[in-house]
């Protein structure tokens, strides 16, 4: 059914037709007609953020926790440039987001008009795709195509730049019959011959490991179910990247914990010593591989990924299967059920015995303290007191993020929102807002650091305005903890500008926004304080005062291999572990 309407009305209409119920945005001169169209309806709820970066992270949080496309709306110029960090974050973590940006009227483009910037030029390298809409005739197709591109294949952010005259122009709107891109068709089914080969390799494996990532989450609930089935059929050990946590339950007996730079001893050693690695929706990022030429030297590698460019990018694999994780796992599980079995169960038993020895090393241990709250302890208590609830966790970036990944355990996918690829400080609070909008009755906790939280603290106003009871759980060590830790590792403990000077009083800060502030520095009081936080129906800033100099361990120092980890009982002096070459890395 086609209707006459303005470009601005088309945008709102297309959002409705795409099933968008919430859009995060900030108005400005170049998007006023769209805001007028939003004013005249009530199907799409607009959440007014306080900074466009917040809109992007909120859309990410919404998308990551629902599996739907996140939507955001910002004005031209600074509106668009402020969104760039969030768009890049969504690109690196493959989060589907559609971002509508206003643009100066077509006839002013290129004249350095007020609040003009080359939005499609600036966002070309930080989006999966972007559009400049030059004519009202193109707008309906582009709007729907953008959602298709954002969610299909390897998901990512898409920008639609709409000049103000196009928003005012009148045209014919109809939902395109085939809301696909004319040529973009990602491959979903994997090559059956290759999947058969994978099954054969898996049956023969003596020391296998499943290395899973964010692609499993992106592929949807079916992928996580199939993954669990595959693990129970094969009894293979499984580890996951930061982005993939929750795809396999942390309580599962085959779970080795997260791998990589701050992964567990058992997962990293198993990666190093395995004879078959099955990478599922993971991309061999440098936080995972450590030193590339010493990465899992003795293994055959199978890589399942929807993005052909991920295969053989960092690590050469023996068998690359291009396809969607759920589609490939479906075939893999079916073939395994039909014909395969572990050829050498004794070898697998021996492998598990080895893994249990590594597990017994208890690499996540830390020195408890009766007087100071250890950050790991804080996360553990938070986990114990929230695990039986409908809980979603977001994080900022740094030590607290890694402690959260290590000590908070996820049973389900889509419960863990963190900035993995880009490592964006300031991600957690706006992401929590996005999550809470999608899940109004859930408990949403942003595990934060005192430095990160200040990067988007203005979003407290958003939380208050929309009565979003997000809980900000700050592990406050008065340092940019990860920076300080690296300065200890690499720069002789010269803590250049990593001390969080002149911190606000977080309790008073919470109160200034109209939220509740809680401070706790006593381990004996921590449980009560966390309970108080959970039971508060309003937003809370929890200032958890923790040990200042604790390092996040275990750790693979940069430039080292998986079997060269620093473990918690390494000693007090971790400086001098990294050689000159390692210092060059990030």
């Amino acid at each position: 059914m086609s209707k006459q309407m303005t470009g601005a009305e088309m945008i709102v209409e297309a959002l409705k037709d795409q099933g968008v119920d919430t859009i995060f945005g900030y108005p400005g001169g170049a998007v006023l007609p769209i805001y007028d169209a939003i004013f005249n309806q009530n199907r799409v709820k607009h959440v007014l953020v306080r900074h466009e970066q917040g809109a992007a992270h909120a859309a990410e949080g919404y998308a990551r926790s629902t599996g739907k496309v996140g939507a955001m709306l910002v004005t031209s110029g600074p509106g668009a440039t402020n969104a760039v960090t969030g768009l890049t974050d969504a690109l690196l973590d493959s989060i589907p987001v559609v971002c509508i940006t206003g643009q100066v009227p077509t006839h002013l483009i290129g004249s350095d008009a007020f609040q003009e910037c080359d939005t499609v030029g600036i966002t070309r390298s930080c989006t999966k795709h972007n559009y400049l809409v030059k004519s009202i005739q193109d707008l309906p197709r582009i709007l729907h195509e953008a959602f298709y591109v954002a969610r299909s294949g390897r998901p990512g952010p898409v920008v639609i730049d709409v000049p103000k005259d196009v928003q005012f122009a009148t045209g014919t709107y109809s939902v395109p019959k085939n809301a696909q891109h004319k040529t973009y068709r990602p491959q979903l089914k994997g090559d059956l011959g290759k999947i058969k080969a994978a099954v054969e390799m898996m049956a023969k494996a003596k020391r296998p490991i499943l290395y899973t990532g964010g692609g499993v989450i992106n592929s949807g609930a079916a992928a996580a179910t199939l993954l669990r089935e595959l693990v129970s059929l094969t009894n293979f050990p499984i580890t996951s990247t930061l982005m993939g946590l929750g795809a396999y339950p942390a309580s599962g007996k085959n779970w080795l914990g997260m791998l990589g730079m701050h992964g567990t001893y058992e997962s990293n050693n198993a990666m190093h010593d395995c004879d078959l690695m099955i990478a599922v929706g993971a991309r061999f990022d440098d936080r995972i591989t450590g030193r590339l030429d010493a990465f899992s030297p003795g293994s055959k590698k199978i890589h399942i990924d929807i993005d052909p460019s991920s295969i053989n990018k960092n690590v050469k694999v023996d068998l690359g299967i291009v396809g969607d994780v759920a589609h490939v796992l479906e075939d893999l599980v079916r073939l395994w059920r039909a014909e395969a079995h572990v050829a050498e169960p004794k070898a697998l038993d021996k492998w598990w015995k080895q893994i249990d020895e590594w597990r017994a090393r208890n690499s996540l241990a830390y020195k408890a303290s009766p007087t100071t709250i250890m950050p790991q302890y804080a996360v553990q208590r938070l986990y114990e007191l929230t695990k039986d609830r409908d809980t979603y966790i977001t994080t900022e970036v740094g030590q607290h993020q890694m402690w959260a990944a290590q000590h908070y355990h996820f049973e389900k996918p889509n419960r863990w929102m963190t900035s993995g690829g880009l490592g964006t400080m300031g991600y957690g609070l706006p992401a929590a807002i996005g999550v809470q909008m999608a899940h109004p009755d859930a408990l949403v906790v942003d595990i934060a650091g005192e430095a990160s939280i200040l990067m988007n603290i203005q979003e407290m106003s958003t939380a208050m305005q929309f009565r979003l009871p997000v809980k900000i759980f700050i592990l406050n060590n008065e340092y940019m903890g990860m920076v300080r830790q690296w300065q200890e590792l690499l720069h002789g403990g010269r803590y250049s500008h990593s001390y969080s000077e002149s911190l606000p009083d977080f309790v008073k800060l919470a109160e200034a926004y109209g939220a509740k502030g809680i401070r706790c520095s006593d381990p004996a009081r921590l449980d009560d304080a966390i309970r108080e936080m959970i039971e508060t129906p309003n937003a809370v800033i929890f200032d958890c005062v923790v040990d200042k100099m604790e390092n996040c361990l275990p750790m693979i120092p940069s430039g080292k291999a998986h079997n060269e980890m620093i473990l918690p009982d390494f000693g007090d002096d971790i400086g001098g572990v990294i050689d000159e070459k390692g210092k060059m890395l990030v």
Partner: protein, 191 residues
Amino acid sequence: MNAKSASPSPTPASPPSPYSSAFARENAETHTLSVLVDNEPGVLGRVVGLFSGRGYNIDSLTVAEVAHESHQSRITIVTTGTPGAIEQISHQLERLVPVHKVTDLTLSVRAIERELAMVKVAGKGDARVEALRLADAFRARVIDATLESFVFELTGAPRKIDDFIELMRPIGLVEVSRTGVAAISRGPKPI
């Protein structure tokens, strides 16, 4: 206790750099890629931006619309890199939404490569005669002439053009304009 762990299997002998991947030690090769794209605003920017953003080389690049009805352009890119890098470049190009098809003409088929060059040569006396004689041998056409200069037009494989330019250098080469390589596969089938 020193907890720096010892694992059952040893790490390989000390490598040149922690960065080095399996590909880094391979030799660089020059490949010609044919890229079919939607002819829409910004598409060339996406392709070029991908090369600069990811640190790939462009040796030459040509582009023109080849199908008006379907608005498709064909970009021919000559690039140099290790086989691993070339494979990455192809896959990264395929990721771009307006890119239909990427063919590595160097890998998949015997391709014909042609380039057009205009070569300006200045000189008098014997040099002019020699320039004309060589131009004739290379089947270069004179497309501009003055009493002290020629502009030659020459079409051929890049190597032939290189050779011609080298021969003109001592005679009085002034400047060169080259189109970059256009390439097509042999035989009846499209790429």
